[in-house]
Amino acid sequence: MQLFIQTLFNVLIVASIYILVGLGFAFIFHMLGTFNVAHGAIYMVAGYLGYIAIGLWGINPWIGFALVIIVIGAFGLFLERFCFRPFLADFNNQIMIGVAITAILTTTVNIWLGSRALIIPSFVSGVLHVGPYPIAWEKILVFGIGFTILGSMVWFAKFTRWGKQMQAITQNREAAALQGINIYHIAAIVSALGCALAAVAGVMVGALYVLDPFMGQNILTKILILVILAGVGSIAGIFVIGLMLGVLYSVLPVFLPGNIADVAAFSIVCILILLRPQGFFGHEA
């Protein structure tokens, strides 16, 4: 029973992280048509910025958290204007610019801070006892923040004017432009939002686990799987598949040793992709 309770929370936490990062990637991919392979590096940098703001400079954790989101969101604006927009519909150059940004960010962090594994000071300490079973308050907080932000994103995408414009662009970019939607204005918002979501995940991971200059590369593979399996334009798909990946990567290591857990997870994913290459949700691209 204890293992079940612990695993359930682990699934929810890991799924929250994947969904946050994946949703940001999906926003940029589906709405801007940009395959941003630097998304993992942005998530990593956000974690380190969180450490600098909260751990090194001693800023209040919540203020530091907000600052990091703003800074990374602003970086998203920069990326959209100078790195994404010039290479729309040019997949090869999108990959190259993403790889270049990843290399620059990862190497810079590795040289500057990477010789020590760092942790963002906890936002909250202590454990909650669910009967006899302890659950760290930090995990509950991370899940709560993730759930709230994800809920906000869903509300934003479905019920606000900008959100509806984003959906229109996802469905048909040219038609959206013909309807008078300012594509570049929305693209900037999407890019900022996408990077901000990665920033939220990066800071939470930095507080919950440990920062590592290569953590972006680790998560990028899972995010690509998530987006592909979810399908084009489906936010619900991101949630469902994110939860599925959370189950795979939290449950399998408990029952399978070492790298076999990773192999099993990827094998299941491969089978799913073979069954439904266009993804399980969403519409045709």
Binding site: Q2, Q6, R116, A117, P134, Y209, M215, V254, P257, N259
Partner: protein, 416 residues
């Protein structure tokens, strides 16, 4: 517009090439000052002009392993400077000053193969300190083919690293096995009632080779290896150690010994483990020191044993001097200690001929290293190579209630 972009790109490429050719890891550490001082000494005592002996250092200066090795580059160069300032080394009556020549393995087998090729064919080195673990499987064939004496700085004991088929290859320590032996001894010293132990490690593929050896060692020590006498392995790419912590918690161990993983994974595990309310001793070959654990874990930093170099507890006068020259590196100095082993064996050798050096090394049971005596062994673990594996004492720290203290220097003893 495209023309200007092309010009900018060309400028960037040319600048990068110029900078790359000027910088990097191949600068020497033989200084004019040391040359002058030693030349005067040489003139007074011998009539033979000192020569330059190139020694390669081969480590991960980029990639995921660089967290362990970037800081050690400065230490290796500083140690060569110390030797040169003290007259260099004399081999077979000929004095040599040390020139360190470096290459980056890029934390990968590809990088190791490319770097080994450059060291041997471009830079002409005959003695190499490095690489790390699995990288040796790629570089060892190149070194062996050219009879280059190479000393692995942290063997993982995977096939191809060190065996009867690699006669010119040595190990500067016993790698994860040596660490585990030290940790188990430290555990027995500090927590004598801890008998049921979980061995936790990142899955680097060596478990099938190492488990029987760990089982045998633990049997001799009177310890029980839980999980049906198997190590608990986790994927190296794992982000969340909570599932592993939950799994280990269920085994009800008296202690957990973790090795062969990155500091990020270890602190992630212990954080999750303590959050489950499990307070059994946690023993980890950290390298980053107890303060890192205290900073990372806050009040949960309790009942932890870890290994790390500490400037307040130098292993020797030489170690003290090294730390004075390279403050704030905080590294295990394993590569530097390996360099010292090589230099001390070279001093005993009648010549620089690789076969002569190999024979000398195999006939040497012990030399004085950075942390005191270094013992050579490894006949069993290498499948027949005599005295190819070094072992030495490691400084063990204890963390209790968020406070760090030193347990002392613990040695694994001669590696069987």
């Amino acid at each position: 517009m495209k023309k200007y972009l092309f010009i900018i790109l060309a400028v960037v490429v040319v600048t990068g090439m110029l900078l790359g050719s000027c910088s990097g890891t191949s600068t020497t550490s033989v200084t004019a000052t040391s040359t002058k001082t030693s030349t005067a000494t040489v003139t007074a005592t011998t009539t033979v002009e000192p020569k330059i002996l190139k020694i390669g250092y081969f480590m991960s200066l980029s990639g995921f392993l660089s967290v362990y090795y970037v800081s050690q580059e400065a230490e290796v160069r500083a140690m060569a400077d110390i030797y040169n300032e003290n007259g260099g080394i004399t081999v077979g009556g000929q004095k040599y000053f040390i020139e360190m020549v470096g290459e980056d393995t890029k934390s990968s087998a590809d990088g190791a193969a490319a770097g080994a090729t450059r060291l041997v064919y471009d830079k002409g080195v005959k003695f190499v300190v490095g690489p790390f673990g699995f990288e040796a499987a790629a570089s060892t064939p190149i070194f062996e083919e050219n009879k280059v004496i190479n000393v692995n700085t942290f063997p993982l004991w995977s096939p191809g690293e060190l065996s009867k088929d690699t006669p010119y290859s040595f190990a500067g320590n016993a790698g994860a096995m040596g660490e585990t032996l030290v940790l188990l001894k430290a555990l027995m010293m500090e927590y004598p009632n801890a008998k049921k132990v979980v061995l936790l490690a990142g899955d680097d593929g060596t478990a099938p080779f190492m488990e029987p050896k760990y089982q045998a060692f633990m049997d001799e020590m009177g310890l029980t290896l839980l999980n049906d006498e198997h190590m608990v392995l986790f994927p190296q790419t794992i982000e969340d150690m909570s599932p592993i912590a939950a799994k280990v918690d269920l085994m009800k161990p008296d202690a957990v010994v973790e090795f062969g993983s990155q500091p990020a994974q270890a602190s992630s595990f212990i954080k999750a483990f303590r959050a489950l309310g499990n307070n059994v001793p946690f023993v980890f070959a950290g390298g980053q020191g107890p303060q890192y654990m205290i900073d990372a874990l806050g009040p949960t930093a309790n009942d932890i044993l870890t290994t790390a170099v500490d400037p307040k507890y130098p292993g020797s006068a030489l170690h003290e001097e090294l730390m004075a020259r390279t403050p704030d590196t905080g590294s295990s100095a394993s590569v530097t200690n390996t360099l010292i082993m090589l230099l001390e064996v070279l001093k005993k050798s009648p010549s620089l001929d690789p076969d002569a050096v190999k024979a000398t090394w195999e006939a040497t049971d012990s030399v004085e290293g950075l942390f005191g005596p270094v013992t050579f062994g490894g006949d069993l673990i290498t499948g027949g190579l005599h005295n190819h594996v070094a072992s030495y004492s490691v400084l063990v720290h204890r963390v209790k209630n968020g406070q760090a203290s030193v347990v002392g220097w613990v040695s694994s003893g001669r590696i069987p």
